[in-house]
Symmetry: C2
């Protein structure tokens, strides 16, 4: 059994190393040895002497490597949309199974890739694409397919979880926590993919597609980054027994599914509340299975390579058995994805208000005017001002955001100090 | 596709109900409808009119049902060793794939059952056998098979976790917490299987076999129940920033694997420390994947039925594809299981001692005499006595238990108030 490795960066190098150190065990698990036939790289002139593999396997001709007759499996860890898409499509077209960690491509183009896998009679596995080594895709694709999933709440980006954890535990501002994350190598030089939520949104699309058996596109995911999370938000959450987490939220509702990525407050007693630092976790609510959680490292070369290796063993075994296993996506439900305005959420709103009679009544009337009912209201003196912290009942997100918009224009409201959705209650 | 259901108790009834309510979805996932051909029960004269299935499917002739030509899959949820063993062996011998939740049987007889599956060319799936709906068997069997697992720490029995949680949170004694668990239906009338660790030991054998690719028998598992956990243990743990949990611990060491089930102290910051009430969780340390945790309901009819349904879909899909998937056990490593005396552990020991000079030196010398070195010692006055709390470094369990034995006989030691292993640090 031979594989073509496309890309030899952090993850690719780890795959090479693990295939060497675990070669014997892999052979036992697959039933025959699995060898690296070739590795496609962008430039041949980099020093790769630290890798336990002969220099002759490197090539810049990825397509030629994919099409080589002795290649059975293609492992794509190069990332990006092109040329990864052409490579994967070519491989599947040749009936060669593909293992990939490319969340961006999968979230953008799953239907076409799934169709290519089907017509080529090949497997497309991608356990490493979301939450790295945490077995998540396979439980969603296979273990829970006798059940109905109603909600997924996940912390699927380690960089932003590290930042929120630091802000909560040390009182740091967003900028300070980001600088620390950059120093530690958790955040990249251009942190936008993480802090603006693009990375999490791609994972949310994959997770929601599998959980609800429908196709959710990257463009369907409502995305808000964590750049506006303030120490005031963190403090207001803590005072109410909650913590701020960067969440991906996918829910099945009567009229469709809602998939969104944004910071939110969750109760300090929620299992996700203790998932700190760069760790990831995905919390699943299924009709029969109840509440499940999957926890682990959500990034890292070795961790991602572990998931890639698990997939390599699986597709190699399938290949030997002459079968393909589960389709990459089973979008038979075809339920609509709702816009964020129609998503059903709860808001936590902190307001600095004038401390005089009637303020609370005026604020409450503004919520009522938009059809939003209140769960709790706390009022506390603050020198000449007062602070109001309001938590609403569930309402359409649009009703809530319209209310906040109107509140911010009231003369007796000095400032809206914190607005955040509340989840997991 | 037709299945025979063996047993119609709590789990079996839920399987019937779910197959009816989710029939259409199951058919989509499998690729054809899956029907219940018959249900084997012990007595026909019980009222089963609440079940959404025709009375005519019930039979007392399990073997006849299994052998019926139109039956493709056999689902065993009757429990117990016999006749479950004969039923499963017969089914596998006929080439019919089996889904079972029978941990006791699997832990006792896996090699024979795996051989029967292999020679019959049939699947044997058992996701529901450990930790109910938590996808655990499949990740261990499949997702992590490119990795090397070094340690598994699990809370795999909901009854004993509920009892330990109550003792920690309310100060209840073991007897009081057990009485509460019985009232709530968490503990059975005869609670021995739970509180003496038999249930957890069977699950530990299954988990260790899969994690280390070797065969671990129920008899290989060192088993201690939670009946001797005292409020003094709980208090001593809390004072040291730890909590007491009923653990299953499987470790890979240089000279073999160690598999044991006993109450232990873990740091309050360990992810398992917050797994409370009847919830279960399994914490896995893998070489590349790092630290992973799987969390969810570890028992319950609906939760167990969810796992059974997931397996039904999987074996039905395999059957349609004309393949069998993973072997039920892949014991190719064949590493020895070490006796408890040779397991490497740490002890937390609380002693009531005479409050006079030289006591600490005498106690420390006793540890040293057995080659055990100390990590921390805390001494505090207690009226005329003093309390010593000692936490050791890692040593062979035998060295530690011998030390405690000798300590308890020292004249200056009034009482050994708490002895417990420390894990997860």
């Amino acid at each position: 059994m031979k594989l073509a490795l496309l890309g030899c960066g952090t993850v690719g190098s780890e795959v090479v190393r693990l295939m060497r150190t675990r070669g014997e065990e892999l052979a036992t698990r697959v039933g025959e040895p699995v060898e690296i036939a070739g590795i496609a790289v962008r430039r041949l002139n980099r020093d790769r002497s630290h890798l336990p593999i002969d220099d002759s396997v490197f090539t810049t001709d990825a397509l030629g490597l994919i099409k080589r007759e002795d290649v059975d499996i293609v492992v794509e860890v190069a990332g990006g949309i092109e040329p990864a898409r052409s490579w994967i499509t070519t491989a599947l077209g040749e009936g060669k199974s593909v293992v990939t960690a490319n969340k961006a491509l999968l979230a953008e183009d799953m239907p076409a890739l799934a169709a290519a896998a089907k017509s080529g009679g090949a497997d497309l596995y991608y356990e490493a694409a979301a939450a790295a080594a945490i077995p998540l895709m396979r439980p969603l694709r296979e273990s829970l397919h006798g059940d109905t999933i109603n909600r997924v709440l996940g912390i699927v980006n380690g960089t932003t979880n590290y930042i929120c954890t630091q802000m909560s535990q040390t009182g740091a501002t967003f900028a300070e926590a980001l600088a620390e994350a950059t120093d530690l190598g958790y955040a990249e030089a251009d942190p936008s993919a993480d802090i603006d939520g693009y990375d999490a949104a791609a994972k949310a699309a994959l997770i929601a597609s599998l959980a609800f058996h429908t196709h959710v596109d990257l463009a369907d995911v409502h995305r808000e980054g964590i750049t506006r999370v303030s120490p005031a938000d963190i403090a207001s959450a803590a005072a109410a027994g909650r913590v701020v987490k960067p969440l991906c939220i996918a829910t099945r509702e009567e009229d469709g599914v809602s998939v969104r990525v944004h910071p939110a407050m969750i109760p300090a007693t929620h299992p996700l509340a203790n998932v700190n630092g760069a760790y990831n976790a995905v919390f699943v609510e299924a009709e029969s299975a109840g509440r499940l959680m999957f926890y682990g490292a959500g990034a890292g070369g070795t961790e991602t390579a572990s998931a890639v290796l698990g997939d390599i063993v699986a597709v190699a075994r399938n290949k030997r058995g002459g079968i393909t296993a589960f389709p990459p996506e089973a979008a038979y439900s075809d339920v609509p994805v709702k816009p964020i305005g129609k998503a059903r959420t709860r808001y936590h709103v902190s307001l600095d208000v004038v401390d005089e009679p009637g303020v609370l009544a005026r604020v409450a009337a503004t919520f009522a005017h938009h059809g939003v009912s209140l769960a709790t209201v706390h009022q506390s003196g603050r020198g000449e001002d007062a602070q109001l912290v309001v938590v609403t009942h569930i309402a359409a997100d649009r009703q809530l955001s319209d209310t906040v918009e109107e509140l911010s224009q009231l003369a007796l409201v000095h400032q809206v100090t914190s607005v955040m959705r509340v989840e997991g209650e």
